[in-house]
Symmetry: C2
Subunit: 356 residues, 2 copies
């Protein structure tokens, strides 16, 4: 096991200088502190502080996700994590991060300096500086909705999108729908691709031909709906499954702008079941992610990794909450068969060509 | 919440009769006991006994798997489970089960009668009577190497086969192999199919054409090798990845029976890294399942489900342990291109035709 003495020898400084660097002492230059931290990380040093019972600290990093009030997506996730970790006497810090923040200090050096034993990373994107570093970190990390291959210290955590989308498609089929559209989120997101793949597979499994005009990537925001909904309706869609609930809200408004009703003319399903879905007009049928359970699971995953159980994937069940935005199908004529450039056919041809 | 009184009312018997049925009292007919237990299960009754701190009991059910001595596959799994559960003051029973045992009593009724709060099910096959019942059980269940859809009380647990097979294929490619065979286990097994799919995907990803003569289903026993190895060698295989280590041992012997050497002429890789793999001649390169960690994870999964965190899939990292059964490729001539009937092409055409 690497000691402070080893690091001092390696850097050619005294033990007390190393200690200052590791513990945030003031009379040491930032350049020297950086050098010592980098060396300590490279040597695999684990702070003894982080191992002591009285200094059990975990951190939740949040990016691109709101969590301050109960109606926001991240609120219950953070709460669930705090609950489960608190029960086992871990202190939890919650820190908003940006790409700039991540650029300031490498992930492992940051974690070592602050004395955190592990992190739960929410809302990170593939372009984040720390995302690349997660490939070789030795700090236990639970990563929501993203997959890092090989590294035994990082686990992908999320909700089983595949099962969720399957439930939604089959609910619509049971209501007589065949022209089922999927207005997905961003093509750059791992979960978007899993969901698209599950949509295509379930459609084919039910012997319905895949229509590329109905399988569309857009963005996880309500405004994205307005551009796509007229095309989906022209292509004959009687039901639209959405990448999230915000998109579903946008879709419902757009359907009305086109002079049609939800659910009488068009059924709409959201994803996530955020609190506003139940209050919307009409209340939205949604694929529920149990966010409190997701948060707790973030802690359970870190607990496992901290106990040398190298979890790779940890998924929760999805549940379909049926409300009033879905009803029996009312077929409509196809008026326009042109396919827009956000179709799965253009955006992710590998997925579309796959034989599901 | 359902009480003993409710059950008594429903069955038209006294509370004390219900209590006898639930607690294994003797002066009650087997027929009546069965009727009361079935009714209690149907009504969603949960024994108060199972909830009390002083009666925390879990059970490991083992089928088709030996676990008595450290060299057997199940030993460390059971040990790991006992370690993790014992730490949190759960008593653990380990019970060998057969299809006949399962036919005697429905799963939920058995668990209720014995007062178990959850189970870890090892080695179950798709044909087991309880397997069907896992679809609607309300007892927390961690199921090794099998997948039950939808049910929030059952979690699929295992090792990330996909990543493991990917590591093996890429190790062989880095040694210059292109004619890489996969001699898989049974076509009826979920993990076999995941591994075949990962093999095909990694081969294609590396721009090597898939040769159906090299992608074969057999059985998870050494003897299965003797029939297939001559065909694989005739088809030009310079490396053979095996569905498990026993199969790898059989393959090494068969390669020698054909007058060739391991690893000089043919490289061989096993799966599981059972204790005998390191002692074999030559020591076998193997995709390691950390069985102690698997066992611990069985407990962690039950702990999560018992805390209303409905885990669906929990996978551990696989690791490639490189020993002396793999070496630089030495190409050989193809002498026979006939494809045997256990090829993926015949056994699982969906998998083969898929575009990976």
């Amino acid at each position: 096991m690497v000691t402070i003495q080893d690091i001092a020898n390696e850097c050619g400084v005294s033990i007390s200088t190393v200690s200052k660097a590791l513990n945030g002492g003031h009379d040491i230059s930032e350049a020297l502190r950086s050098e010592i931290l980098d060396k300590a990380v490279a040597m695999g040093y684990t702070s003894r502080k982080a191992k002591k019972r009285q200094n059990r600290r975990l951190v939740v990093f949040v990016e691109n996700m709101e969590f301050d009030t109960p109606d926001q997506f991240g609120y219950d996730i953070v709460l669930g994590f705090r609950q489960a970790a608190g029960k086992e006497e871990w202190a939890v810090d919650v820190i908003n991060v940006t790409p700039e923040f991540q650029d300031e200090k490498p992930y492992d050096a940051y974690m070592l300096e602050k004395g955190y034993s592990g992190s739960f990373a929410l809302g990170f994107s593939l372009k984040d500086p720390w995302m690349e570093q997660f490939n070789y970190t030795r700090v236990p990390t639970a990563l929501l909705d993203n997959m890092i291959p090989m590294n035994p210290y990082v686990c992908n955590i999320g909700t089983d999108s595949e099962e969720g989308i399957g439930l939604a498609v089959e609910h619509l089929i049971s209501l007589g729908h065949e022209k089922i559209a999927f207005l997905n989120g961003s093509v750059d997101s791992l979960v978007s691709n899993q969901r698209m793949s599950a949509y295509l597979r379930t459609i084919v499994k039910n012997h319905i031909p895949v229509d590329p005009a109905l399988a569309i990537y857009s963005y996880f925001i309500a405004d994205a709906a307005h551009y796509h909904v007229p095309n989906l309706l022209n292509a004959g869609a009687t039901a639209i499954i959405c990448g999230n609930d915000l998109l579903a809200e946008g879709v419902i408004e757009s359907v009305r702008d086109c002079g049609l009703r939800v659910p009488e003319d068009v059924s709409v399903i959201g994803f996530d079941d955020i609190p506003t879905s139940a209050e919307f007009d009409p209340p939205i049928t949604s694929i529920r992610q149990d966010r409190l359970a997701l948060g707790r699971n973030g802690y359970y995953v870190l607990h496992a990794i901290l106990n040398s159980v190298a979890q790779s994937i940890s998924m929760l069940r999805a549940e379909l909450v049926v409300r009033s935005s879905t009803a029996v199908a009312k077929p409509r004529l196809v008026t326009d068969r042109s396919i827009d450039k956000d179709s799965v056919m253009y955006q992710n041809p590998d997925l579309y060509n796959a034989r599901y």
